[in-house]
Assembly symmetry: C2
Homo-oligomer: 190 residues x 2
Amino acid sequence: MSPVKSEEKRFRILEAALRVFSDKGYYGSSIPSIAKEAEVATGTIYVYFKDKQALANELYLYLRDIFRQHVKLGDDRMTPRERFHTLWQSYIHFGLSHRMELEFIEDHHHAPYLEKETQKAAFEFLNDYSKFLENLVKAGAVKNESLFLLLGMMEGMALGLLHIIWHEHLEPTEENIAKAEQMAWEAIRI
Amino acid sequence: MSPVKSEEKRFRILEAALRVFSDKGYYGSSIPSIAKEAEVATGTIYVYFKDKQALANELYLYLRDIFRQHVKLGDDRMTPRERFHTLWQSYIHFGLSHRMELEFIEDHHHAPYLEKETQKAAFEFLNDYSKFLENLVKAGAVKNESLFLLLGMMEGMALGLLHIIWHEHLEPTEENIAKAEQMAWEAIRI
DNA sequence: ACACAATGAATGAATATTCATTCTTTAAGA
DNA sequence: TCTTAAAGAATGAATATTCATTCATTGTGT
């Protein structure tokens, strides 16, 4: 009956928005500049997204899904150390291959222009991790501390490693990643 | 309304800019809104600062000085563990009492609108920390790894702890701060 | 009286968003 | 199979707003 809104074009706009937001942040990115990056007309953005804020919200949700597809939490057939290894490696490699995606997610967990509904999605992250850590604690492998404390330290170390690599103060070799993993493990293990 | 430029007014503008930038970021903060927050006229900002970029640069340098006044690196009359304790405690307590200041510093180390000269100041941070860690390594107390790797992990853990406290997932009790300190130490110690 | 700080309205450029108009696709009717 | 009209996607110029910056004027301490 009519030309159909293509999912492909929607993704092209989301990916373009990610690149522009990455460079200049939310307020520094104009809709026309995102349209240009996506090679569509300015108005087309408004066919696919209600406004700039909705675009940022949908981008966040889109990236969160990509994140979840990459970052593995393992299962309880593994030893605690193996599960930790699985999470660490997948998280770090995601950060290396999807820097803009991870930076956007981290920067926007608490951004004021994300809607309540989107913020709720941010909490699911915490839930996944908390369950993961709870398992390791119950298995007696990890310190019996507040899950949030363990979580903050663990995520802090992963992001700390990624930052020094992103800023080219450290080579992203498997050896360096493994050394950092062992340090992180020693921080949280019993 | 004196005909003499007052340092006090300059600081009032810097502090106002910090609050507004904290809320909305660089591109999201207008000069008129900063003027309003500082309770001066728009034009007055331009008496004290060449333009918006210069304001951000001077704010960064101003905050870096405050940071340095608070965060203590100890000296080599202390044991390695004592030195680490000193740094950890002063860093975390700075983050608790000066959240906006620390967030601005962390967010802007690599911001594109900071001038080369200002970026050089950012490197002095790394130098201070590197020397600190080098000492602990030479004393045989800390793993003999890349100083940047140690640095990234350590700063990551401190910021990770602060984030969960800032977002009210953990109480900022001395007990929690001490537990995190011990975890951080176990990550880097031999 | 003078020097210069302080002001805030004025300026022009940039921005988010709208909308009248022009395609493009689809499928009903012949 | 061919024609054609409805549906709605795509467009980009137009609009209203906001922004960084300027400057003519006013205020104030020396």
